[in-house]
Symmetry: C3
């Protein structure tokens, strides 16, 4: 199975079979706390056309923990792209400077273009509203790590389900398994029909509500995302709903003791800091799992194993 | 004594006893020119919420010279903080990505917050007008290295003594020892009363003047800081005093042959370049000492010794 | 001959003799695909006062491939220079933080100032309209690699020959050898008289034209540069000439099968992507050669050989 990842571009979660995902989850385990210079002499090109501190630092840390190094550029005027260079040309350039590339870009489809241009494996670090596969891998890994399964779970998603790339990809990925999904959002930020139809077509069970407490006591996992004011045409509408989607310590008495709260971070105020020290808070560990899963992916696409 | 530094946050010079400071000075000596990969596999997170090239590069160089690596972010839009993340959350995130963190932030108290949030040691790289302890350590180290003692010295401070974080911390640190201090500044930029009272309470001897030549011939050390035009309400007042606080080669005939001139750098014009080649010029060496002291600190807080 | 490069500043192509250039070309060959940590523990300071992704990443990659590390700063507010520090002071500071320095600066002569200030070797990564010697070295290396000689070639330059630093330096360097040069440009962007006089004085043969097809079938190498709209006072004049200097697949039927197209990159539209897969396209390989030549230079100035 390792061979299926060798020199592979990691563009969309939809490019992976259930078996491949499960293999990656299992393969990742050995990278927990693993620090050996197996990627010594290897170079990652981190090409960030828009900022994403967490993604960038997580990849950097993964590379450094495995003894590799990182070149690349950040958003802003300092890239050749500012001189009008195409993503394709930049990708070919990177091929001469590095062994693997991660690209973050505001436009959908850019990562795939880079992947098709460069002879080195390209990892999508987020392309607009489209895909951010390593985020989905680490979300799945976090669920599996804490619940010991990816099946038979009751998983809630709360917040902005309309525009949240993260929740779309995770819901799609979870549809490869058998779980019950709960979509909790204001009316105007509901999960898109395209995804709901997709779930129905695969006979997956899901519920929609605008009230967290309709199902809070049943959930095994609650995946929280931020509701952004700028998504609302009517500021009054935002004022009306915003507090209903802030999770605070009040929730603890309504949920199972082993329910886990996830969040892709950064959070602003949608999870109150009073929850940070509870058993339910899994979001910081989730962030740390990102380094583990990214170490596994770098190892796999480069074909250098522990 | 090493144990007292293990996993310790380095937030304020005032958190350290005289014995600890002297130990650090002594411990630092072995890092002069020392380059061995004792921190191989270790990662420093350099979190710069505002620019400080010298501090950042000095820490980077220290880490690289010891075989470690550096992740982190620079001021500007590329940090998650731009999305509204708290320093506390960022610090917890860094804990998953690194082994030690240096933070530079425009707001006082931020470094302590980061230190209390993260499970890794946090080093204050300057928090507003408050503290910049590694600068003070390297200043002390430079005095000790060149004068062979931290006692019985006559040490002048010249320039902006009112707003200069560096001179405040160094004066406080020197008050742990027995020295005579000379504060040379325009009336409007005098050393704050709080610090003068503190010195008096500890029976330390100091003099104030607005004329360098009142005491120039007695000094063992002259610590120069820049006078910034924007500190003056009245531009005429600035024009009046600015030249009185520019040090040039004229000073050499008025000072002891082994008097040493220090400056935290960068300088603009407050030390004339004609002084650079004199025996008194110690400021470039002082800058280099920063790498030595920071290597020592990284070694100590991580508990990995040469 | 290695000794002639030891601790040497690499400021201008004109500082090098024909023999030194040929030695560097030959010395570079062994760095093709070479990755061994011979520069382990060594630090490059990359001081970029203006952006140049390609130059920066190429040096970073070279350093990492040889096991070294990179510190430094990028253009913008994050450098001490923003606080008014002189290039000379910054160079002396870098001396304490690194073993070799590459500097990119918008002002002519800056690299030489840095080199005279610092005790470490300084490499010019481009100083305004003046020099960018490592680009010229990699251009020569690319010609030599693909044509097996630097003599007896027919080499065309097309595009903006008036303002193009790259073509000026390369033409000067080629005048050390015996080649025939063809300068193809609109009237208003002709090669400067100073360079033409220089060629004449050395009895070098060159031709000028505004039509690529006057000589296309004779060329061994065609070096393409971009024509920038902002160089024209009259936008109509730009519209008139721009298409005449875009190279596309049409050229293939008019040139020798082993003719090679070079370009310093990034390109915008002056070479059509349909050419990328032809045998003539050498520009991507040229970019990759930059890492090879820079590895050789770093090895030479630091005096650490494979």
């Amino acid at each position: 199975m390792e061979k299926k990842f060798l020199k592979r571009n990691i563009i969309s979660i939809n490019d992976f079979t259930k078996e491949e995902i499960l293999f990656l989850m299992d393969f990742s385990k050995q990278f927990e706390g693993f620090r050996k210079p197996i990627l010594s002499g290897k170079i990652l090109a981190a090409c960030f056309y828009e900022p994403s501190t967490r993604t960038k630092l997580s990849f950097e840390s993964a590379m450094y923990q495995l003894g590799g190094n990182v070149t690349g550029f950040d958003a802003g005027s300092s890239s050749s792209a500012a001189k009008g260079e195409s993503v394709s040309d930049t990708a070919i350039m990177m091929e001469g400077y590095s062994d693997v590339m991660v690209i973050r870009h505001p436009l959908e489809g850019t990562a795939r273009v880079a992947g098709e241009s460069a002879d080195i494996p390209v990892i999508n670090g987020g392309d607009g509203a489209n895909q951010h596969p390593t985020q989905t891998f680490l979300d799945l890994y976090t669920i599996l790590k804490t619940k010991k399964t990816l099946n038979g779970l009751k998983i809630g998603f709360i917040g902005d389900l309309k525009y949240g790339r993260t929740v779309h990809s995770l819901a799609e990925a979870l549809s490869l398994f058998d779980n019950t999904l709960y979509f909790i959002s204001p009316e105007s930020l509901k999960m898109p029909n395209a995804i709901l139809s997709h779930l129905s077509a695969k006979n997956k069970i899901y519920f929609e509500t605008n009230d967290l407490y309709d199902y809070a006591n049943e959930l095994d996992v609650l995946y929280v995302t931020r509701i952004q004011k700028e998504r609302f045409f009517d500021p009054l509408e935002y004022e009306k709903v915003k507090n209903a989607y802030v999770i605070d310590k009040k929730i603890i008495t309504h949920v199972k003791p082993d329910m886990k709260i996830l969040h892709p971070l950064p959070r602003v105020n949608e999870i109150h800091t009073s929850l940070d020290s509870t058993d339910q808070a899994e979001y910081f560990q989730q962030s740390k799992n990102g380094v583990t899963v990214r170490k596994a992916l770098l190892s796999l696409v480069l074909g250098i194993y522990p």
